[in-house]
Symmetry: C2
Subunit: 617 residues, 2 copies
């Protein structure tokens, strides 16, 4: 079976074992007659070989400590790098043992394998969908509860002027929730920090990051993301879904769990790096699919981010997993919403449908969109540069778990304080009409029958704010509110990414972009003569969101498809693609993508897809 | 740059040259210092090498004649096979000349190349979109004109009872139009017959079918498809778009035309098999995109059908070409429809939007859908088997161009006669209300204010009939009409595919499936207690169409995405995928896919993606 194969040549040990395996049949397997074990022994370095893993983990933790103390030496420390990270063995080495085992399988055996691959993919999709559903419901419930507490409190104390008590209560509440999330991440499983996308990208490209697909990581990730979203940080719950899907895939396909020390003795054929990687890419796709309701986008995400290995049957299985995942989420959410059978929630975030009738674009708007793409690229590069410096600072000075927890709490408190201050100073009151269906309207300092739109933007979950920026009619948001919100949220999101909490950067990026995009649309409508007819601010919010997200994460193809699927309108495909391309080109000129920066800062020996142009031979 | 590479080992000559190139630097290039020419010389067998092509074409025509006379000898005639088809050279052979040339290029040179690749892809998309637009407008105009003539005639002669005159006029008109189409195909460019998808599939997988990407083929294809659709055959204009896109891509990317004997001296770097193949896959994707308004489906079609070679940057360029193509079509059609800027016609066929509110499915319907998938697989296998025997008959007895033209005319006349008979005997009159927006209503034997629905189904372009089956409200079609129509159209479409006319099988398949699907929906609604609430016939028409198409062509992933994009509703993704998979599994049990059958019958040495399971080593 032919695969796309990237030559991985940075790990000397992998090279050695590869050379041995090609030349002569290996003898380092055990002498047991079970062929699958022999295969695991013969293929080079494997992920579950008990002894070597333990050795390596011990080495690793000491190395990690020493590396963190002196990050300047990293580039010279090639040998330590290869000790910290193993390479995964993604080339089938067709030595005698391998061929003999394959010959021993009957035609029916191959058929059964093929069927069990499909079953495993279905299971992966189902479980990933369930996890997404769980996260969504937990966040919804806890955020609703928090909103009630804070609202009651604010309403009580506004009367008597004791606003500072409300602020303190809010900040303390948020900090406490974030603290829980940070503690489990920092003390129990540091690999669960962040969105996990860089780690999955590395895994799919053949670098084994230790413990990245363990069950413990999954549990910490899921609890962590619930805490950080409920804690009001400028984060999203979509990125972690991708990591969660990958862990589910690794677990289900291997039929055993290292964290639980259980071996279910099933799917033993799949216990090799190649097969496991295939399932992990299916899991990542299922995660994207559940996060954005974008099954095709999920497949293309796996193709784009983990594309060094691919084949055709795999595409179909991955697509199957994605479909099952979004369907499961949709189905269970419909039951949760007491509306079973209404399959209208395909993802965690739902941009809401852009009807082609109401929001159209004209040919002359395309240069404007491209301009917005360039702005998104610039802002994205700025974001990435700032985050790069911040991360270096963190590696140098904030490397103790307790310091990390304290930083996370500080960010939570500052986020609450900044929000509160801005709500206090911006008196952007909007009438609370029947068509305004904000779920958490806050009256605060407004007259009766009005609500504070800045408070709405800060208090809602970021997903709701994005949807509101896309779809509320012109005039809902004051330009000053939007401008201030953009700037504040930009710096908050930048500060937040890289904290020791489990959280994603997709939604904050979309939110920043939607805010300045809507602002741009409002400005256009006011300065052009008939702008109020064609310059719908919701449309520009969508384009701005795409531009900002593209400028930060630099994915083009999969992001286009994800956005198209999430908006449910193919008409926007071309402008979104142009915007994402512009953002990528402009952004690449100034800084790398956020995920690549973090891969580099974790000193992972990651080989990029494209070689630098003049390097041949 | 890593590619998926399928080992192509059936052409002994390709093997020889490959071996030479790997071992020692080649000397068989000319001694000119121009590296690109030297490269063309060194890479093995190339498509434009003047002398060898002429030799081969002469050989080929004589071989073709002799083969057609005695098809039983084909399997033993391995040597003749490799003379008829060349292999394309899709492995970059990194010999000294190649490496020297690459080294000689500056960094800027590589950048410029990359940019010109994007420009070429944009051009491919634009031109493909224009061609689709031209075909659409030409068919629309000519079909409208034909409808006027026939309608006037029928109305005149119904009064005096001379119906046979109308029939004869109709049949003669259709036959004459089809004759034109068949003459240009049979006498000028036989390779333009059929949908061209099998040929493109072969090309993308490394088999060079002579003259498949020539300009002359394109012209014949475009004119031929217009004639066959206007001539009332049971064909679609979507398949040929894929071939057209591929020809455009090959022409534009090479900067010269063999048919016109012109060399524009541009893009000379792209004159190698690898580069040309990349562009051809972009062209095929652009064709799908223009045909169905499905840019992502186009990319996945190229991936699924031509997937032996792929890389990541290529995906993006192909996606770009697809986007430009659907956008161009949409834009020019909006101008043609006097509604510029209304980008609501993304493809040649537009299924119409399925709103999620109006048409939903329930969980308990999924087994029904899977059952329909199985029926689609069975009917598809029957279709393919019948067409297989028919094609063998044709290879044996209908191999002279004049016979082929006569057969095409016969089919056109029979199609007209059968349609007319069925219209005559089925008195399925429907009220012509304001909500019935049939564009070509025929009163015929109905009372005033009514129209004949069988006549509508036969007289419309198949695209319109499909849309009507999907979207008209329950009760529009009589079950008997649908049943009769299904059976008749099934055999007509089966007879038509493989004629010496340029035509596709997508739309007839969709139409057959939509007809029996709607019938199934009507039956469900009548036999189940509350069936009339949930069993919307339009929904079942969609599922039936997917099942039938899947059963005939056996694509799963790309077809799912194409259907989802063409319906504009991601909710149907899961059922459509399940249906297509069931259809493929059931169908594969009985017969191969239609394209694979035709590839085999053309004796093309095509290697499939999957090896048979027990073959290893």
């Amino acid at each position: 079976m032919a695969n796309i194969t990237k030559k991985v040549s940075w790990s000397s040990r992998a090279d050695e074992s590869g050379a041995t395996a090609e030349g002569t049949p290996l003898l380092n397997g055990s002498e047991q007659p079970r062929p699958s074990r022999q295969l695991s022994g013969s293929g080079g370095i494997f992920q579950i070989g008990r002894l070597s893993t333990v050795d390596l983990e011990e080495e690793m933790t000491s190395e990690e400590e020493s590396l963190r103390g002196r990050p300047k030496e990293i580039p010279h420390n090639e040998k330590l790098l290869s000790l910290k990270f193993e390479s995964l063995d993604y080339d089938n080495i067709e030595n005698q043992l391998f061929l003999e085992e394959e010959r021993r399988m009957s035609y029916m055996g191959f058929r059964c394998l093929e069927i069990s691959r499909w079953v495993v993919c279905g299971l992966i999709g189902f479980l990933t969908g369930l996890i997404a559903c769980f996260i969504d419901i937990a966040v919804e419930q806890l955020a609703g509860y928090k909103y009630q507490v804070v609202k009651t409190n604010i309403e009580k104390f506004t009367e008597v002027g004791g606003l500072s008590i409300s602020l303190i209560l809010w900040a303390v509440l948020n900090s406490a929730i974030v603290m829980m999330g940070a503690i489990i991440v920092a003390f129990f499983e540091p690999i669960a920090a962040g969105s996990g996308i860089p780690q999955i990208k590395c895994y799919l490209n053949g670098v084994k990051i230790p413990r990245v697909v363990r069950l413990k990581t999954l549990v910490v990730k899921v609890c962590g993301v619930i805490c950080s979203v409920v804690g009001g940080l400028a984060v999203g719950k979509e990125g972690p879904m991708i990591h969660s899907g990958a862990v589910v895939a690794a677990g289900v396909s291997q039929g055993r769990s290292t964290s639980l020390k259980r071996d279910f003795k099933i799917f033993e054929y799949f216990r090799r790096d190649t097969e496991k990687r295939d399932f992990v890419s299916a899991g990542a796709a299922a995660g994207v699919s559940a996060a954005f309701g974008a099954p095709v986008g999920g497949v293309l995400f796996s193709l784009e981010e983990g594309a060094s290995f691919w084949n055709q049957m795999l595409t179909w299985r991955i697509f199957f997993a994605s479909m099952i995942s979004t369907f499961t989420l949709n189905f269970f959410l419909s039951i949760y919403n007491n509306n079973p059978g209404d399959l209208s929630n395909p993802g965690l975030i739902n941009f809401g449908r852009f009807e082609s009738g109401s929001v159209e674009y004209n040919l002359y708007e395309i240069p404007l969109f491209i301009l917005m793409g360039a702005v998104g690229g610039l802002l994205g590069a700025l974001f990435n540069k700032l985050n790069y410096w911040l991360t270096i600072f963190r590696i140098r000075y904030v490397h103790r778990p307790c310091l990390q927890v304290m930083e996370a709490m500080l960010v939570a408190a500052v986020t609450a304080a900044v929000s509160f201050t801005m709500i206090y100073f911006s008196n952007d009151c909007q009438p609370l009409g029947p068509e305004h269906k904000e779920e958490y309207p806050l009256q605060l300092f407004c007259a009766d029958g009005e609500y504070n739109s800045m408070a709405t933007a800060f208090f809602n979950t970021p997903e709701r704010s994005v949807r509101s920026l896309f779809h509320t009619q012109p005039g809902t948001y004051n330009p000053w509110t939007l401008g201030l919100f953009t700037i504040t949220y930009f710096f908050l999101a930048c500060w937040t990414y890289g904290l020791a909490v489990s959280a994603g950067v997709f939604i904050p990026s979309l939110l920043i972009g939607a805010a300045w995009g809507r602002l741009f649309g409002i400005l256009l409508a006011s300065i052009t003569p008939d702008g109020s007819i064609w310059a719908d601010p919701g449309k520009y919010a969508l384009i701005g969101a795409a531009a900002q997200l593209g400028g930060i994460v630099r994915m083009t193809l999969s992001l286009t498809v994800i956005m198209v699927e999430a908006t449910g309108n193919v008409t926007y495909g071309l402008p979104i693609m142009l915007v994402l391309m512009t953002a990528k080109i402009v952004g690449d000129y100034f800084a790398e993508g956020l995920y690549d920066i973090h891969i580099k800062l974790q000193s992972v020996p990651f080989l990029h897809w494209e070689r630098p142009p003049p390097l041949i031979g």
